[in-house]
Symmetry: C2
């Protein structure tokens, strides 16, 4: 976003000196309260469903103060929602069994917290900054650690395609709540989809 040419500062720029540098105790406390309320409400109702006024009320704070502290609802969302889904441990394991372990990871851990985070992020995908964050996360959490460990050609593309497979699975499972996939046993999904993913990891 071309902010540079502007002379007057927007509230978004005024808001965060360095996120915590020159901050008084009172400010730090209300910031934390707002962040906690936002995390809860975004997870519960999604980006559109959670309003700035609702978050402010939950935190016991004036709505204007939310914007004052975080600049915008979008910025608050980005700071609040944790895009890293703790995938590190799975990625670090042996690549020969990565496919099934990936699917198993998302099926097991994803029944509550991760499911809600995924839905919230997916539903906020009309925001450019959210999409950028997804791309960054793909590059940082998947391509960077995994591509160097693969054999053969097109390693980065193949990892990106693995991410696409995972994104698609979570989409049908968590967002659309597809009845066929929801009714299938986790073991079946792990075996079938895990092997499909594996065919890109070790062709």
């Amino acid at each position: 976003m071309p902010y540079g040419w502007r002379v007057t500062k927007t509230s978004a720029e005024r808001a965060e000196p360095t996120a915590d540098s020159r901050l008084r105790p009172a400010g730090r406390a209300t910031r934390a309260a707002i962040e906690a309320a936002a995390k809860a409400l975004f997870a519960e109702r999604g980006f559109e469903g959670a309003s700035v006024r609702g978050i402010a009320a939950e935190a016991g704070v004036d709505p204007a103060l939310v914007i004052r502290h975080f600049g915008s609802k979008e910025a608050l969302f980005l700071r609040t929602i944790d895009t890293s889904l703790g995938i590190g441990a799975v990625i670090d394991g042996p690549v020969e069994t990565l496919g099934r372990r990936l699917v198993a990871y998302f099926l097991e851990g994803g029944n509550t917290a991760m499911r809600r985070r995924f839905v919230a992020i997916a539903q906020a995908s009309h925001l450019q900054q959210v999409r950028d964050e997804m791309v960054r996360h793909t590059a940082e959490a998947y391509i960077a650690p995994l591509a160097p460990r693969l054999d053969g050609e097109d390693r980065e593309v193949r990892v990106a395609l693995v991410v696409a497979q995972i994104a698609g699975l979570l989409n049908l499972l968590f967002l659309q709540e597809d009845p066929v996939l929801s009714a299938a046993s986790p073991a079946t999904l792990v075996a079938l989809y895990g092997d499909a993913i594996q065919s890109l990891v070790t062709p």
Copy 2:
């Protein structure tokens, strides 16, 4: 759409007797104008970006008239956006080469119209009815025609997983505009991802 069981009528139902049955010429014309304007603006700006007032202005009509005719912005979106992406011909072809043909289809045809429709639908996925429509489309356009033609076990689940793979590919390619996948050659994507899909069709 299961409208019948409800007793009280919402404005959405009041609006459309049977979509065109008892309609005067004038009404039919403005309805068409609204639909055309909506189709253009939804595709151009997405669900959130296109406003009812904007659509009304584009159609040269009062904003209230848009709601009067279609019941709600959401209903207008559902009637306007064509979820069937003309996949029929690809599905009907030989299953032995389905994977690569599917990927090729979405890579070729998807540069303009389909790309915009996918983005618009994805960005409206916070609406329950839009998600329901996606599920219905999966069942109708993929599972129903394809599952009976497969061999082996878990045919419906395997088709659903194919849909997940496609959804994930389109997500990274069209919505997130992932730089790695965008830079890859279509031929590479067709070969790699097509075979990954094929591994679910004919294991």
